[in-house]
């Protein structure tokens, strides 16, 4: 009996978990059944809606449904087109490529006179010029140019151009900022891009203010430019207004033109124009006239000189891919506003001709500048002296983006402390663009 009771108790203990398992399983089955019922209800409702829709569609004419579908497809196509167009325009407009120029070389100068001392000999680095032209929309224009060059053993970074513009149409684009002063041809056509110009050196009087130039190669101000087709040919113009430069007479190596990048306490304006015609009758020919006026003061002590700078002139360029012939002329009429010595007349000009034979372009340039030393504007500038120069050179294009140039130069200059100073130079340059 005791044994039987034990067996019963043992069976009860073992059966208890089994009973609990069954109860849980039943609850799970009930939940599943409930979910299935809900699903059946939902499916029934859906079938009912579909049946109602099908009945309505059967009653309605088929054409509007097809038209609606077509309209949807067309709307989708339009959206995709607009997206594609937007992306294409954005990719074209926002592509701001970094471009630039660089040049290196060596040279020998036989110059030796009291004004300039002995000329330089040996290898040298020219400049590295970087420029960006990002387009930010249909009409907004930007041009940023940064130049690195060696000056007196130091690497100088110079913000050459920062131009922000707006194109109204082909005949009018307005710019604000620092730009290449648009007089004549050379100053805006090549500027710091050594690879762009056929020769190694620029004409001496048209060089940059920090080198041997005697004119304001850069202006900080506003510039309106454009061109339009006319019966005789394409007619273009430039009108500009900016800050007059000053002549800094304090550097040890003599006076140089200095821009006024932040304006001045006594602002003196500089303004000018350039107008040109590219005649239909002669492909590759460009004829132009230009003029500039400004008031330039120096920082001499105890009293600074003040000069009304004024020049006008013209240019003729013919470039047909084989011939490149350029000529520019500048006539100065500078009025002394300080000493009352009157108006002083000077002139400068050059003629350069090159002829391309395959990859080689031999060229010749003649320069002449007769600059009055009674004129404070020239007399206070280190390179404001009269000179005559002839340059004979050969350019060889290794590639459309790389050129080797060799140049022989003979200079005959006045006003350098001796009656007359003549010297020769030989230069070699390797220049690239990228």
């Amino acid at each position: 009996m005791r044994f039987m009771n034990g067996l019963f108790l043992a069976g009860l203990v073992m059966a208890t978990p089994a009973l609990a398992d069954d109860a849980a399983r039943i609850r799970e089955l009930e939940r599943k059944l409930e979910r299935s019922m809900q699903l059946i209800d939902e499916l029934s409702a859906k079938v009912q809606r579909l049946e109602q829709g099908a009945a309505a569609q059967a009653q309605a004419p088929a054409v509007p449904a097809a038209a609606e579908q077509q309209a949807r497809v067309e709307a989708l196509e339009r959206q995709v087109d607009q997206l594609g167009t937007g992306l294409s325009r954005r990719s074209l407009e926002e592509a701001a490529q970094l471009r630039g120029f660089a040049d290196v070389g060596f040279g020998y100068s036989g110059e030796n006179n009291p004004a300039f001392g002995r000329g330089r000999k040996g290898f040298g680095v020219g400049n590295v010029d970087l420029y960006l032209t990002p387009r930010l929309g249909d009409r907004i224009r930007t041009l940023i140019e940064l130049t690195f060059e060696i000056e007196d053993g130091r690497t100088e970074a110079d913000l050459e151009r920062v131009q922000l513009g707006y194109a109204f149409n082909d005949a009018a684009t307005a710019w604000l900022g620092r730009f290449h002063t648009p007089y004549g041809y050379w100053n805006t056509a090549t500027h710091h891009g050594a690879q762009l110009q056929t020769s190694i050196l620029r004409p001496r009087f048209l060089d940059f203010e920090e080198h041997t130039g005697v004119l304001p190669a850069h202006t900080i101000g506003a510039w309106l430019a454009g061109s339009a087709p006319t019966a005789p040919g394409r007619l273009g113009y430039d009108l500009y207004l900016g800050n007059s430069p000053r002549i800094d007479v304090t550097p040890a190596d003599g006076g140089k033109l200095r821009l006024q990048p932040e304006g001045g306490t006594d602002h003196a304006p500089l303004y000018g124009f350039n107008a040109w015609l590219e005649p239909r009758a002669v492909e590759g020919l460009r004829l132009g006239v230009h003029g500039l006026r400004g008031t330039v003061e120096d920082n001499a002590t105890p009293a600074s000189h003040r000069t009304r700078l004024g020049f006008y002139g013209g240019h003729a360029v013919f470039a047909d891919g084989r011939w490149e012939v350029m000529a520019e002329y500048f006539r100065f009429q500078n009025r002394d506003l300080w000493g009352g010595t009157g108006t002083h007349r000077s002139w400068a000009g050059y003629l350069q001709a090159g002829y391309r034979i395959g990859l080689a372009t031999p060229y010749l340039r003649l320069e002449n500048a007769q600059l009055s030393q009674a004129d404070n504007y020239f007399a206070t500038q280190r390179f404001g002296r009269s000179y005559r120069r002839a340059a004979l050179g050969l350019r060889y294009d290794l590639d459309p983006r790389a050129a080797l140039k060799a140049e022989l130069i003979g200079t005959d200059q006045d006003d350098v402390g001796t009656a007359n100073d003549r010297y020769g130079e030989a230069r070699f340059q390797y220049s690239i663009r990228f």
Binding site: D81, G84, T85, S88, R89, L92, A95, Q97, R99, Y131, T133, R135, D138, R139, R141, T142, L143, Q163, G165, A167, N169, D170, T173, H180, T188, A189, T190, H191, G193, L196, A225, S227, P229, R234, G321, P400, R433
Partner: protein
């Protein structure tokens, strides 16, 4: 007709057939055929108030430059480099072939390009 004249005539016809191309524009572009050269030289960037978006077609660019712009590719590249440096404008971008040009021109207001095969219903500005 002598054999020589026949040969010359055949050569001329063949060269004409090879040089065939079509300058096409978006439906919004309404320019005269003689203005196409000015557009690709960058001298004409607007037609009325609309900015023009010229694009090149690398597959037939050389033939187009010789026939319409009347310039060899090197000189054309040189001209645009100087223009870009001087005026801050960019040369027309280059597309890969007729299909890409057709698609771009169809989708882009102000676009103008050229193709080497008959573009069908596209807005043809000039046949060269």
């Amino acid at each position: 007709m002598s054999f020589r004249k026949l040969l010359l005539a055949l050569c001329f016809a063949a060269s004409g057939a090879l040089a065939d191309g079509y300058v096409i524009g978006h439906v919004t572009v309404n320019v005269a055929p003689e203005e196409v050269r000015e557009i690709f030289l960058g001298n004409m960037q607007f037609a009325g108030s609309r900015r023009l978006v010229p694009v090149h077609n690398s597959a037939v660019q050389g033939a187009f430059l010789y026939a319409v712009v009347r310039m060899d590719p090197d000189r054309y590249a040189d001209l645009w480099l100087k223009k870009s440096f001087r005026e801050g404008v960019m040369p027309p971008p280059v597309m890969l072939g007729d299909a890409e040009v057709l698609d771009f021109v169809r989708r882009t207001p102000g676009a103008i390009g050229y193709v080497g095969t008959n573009p069908g219903s596209a807005n043809i500005i000039l046949k060269y």
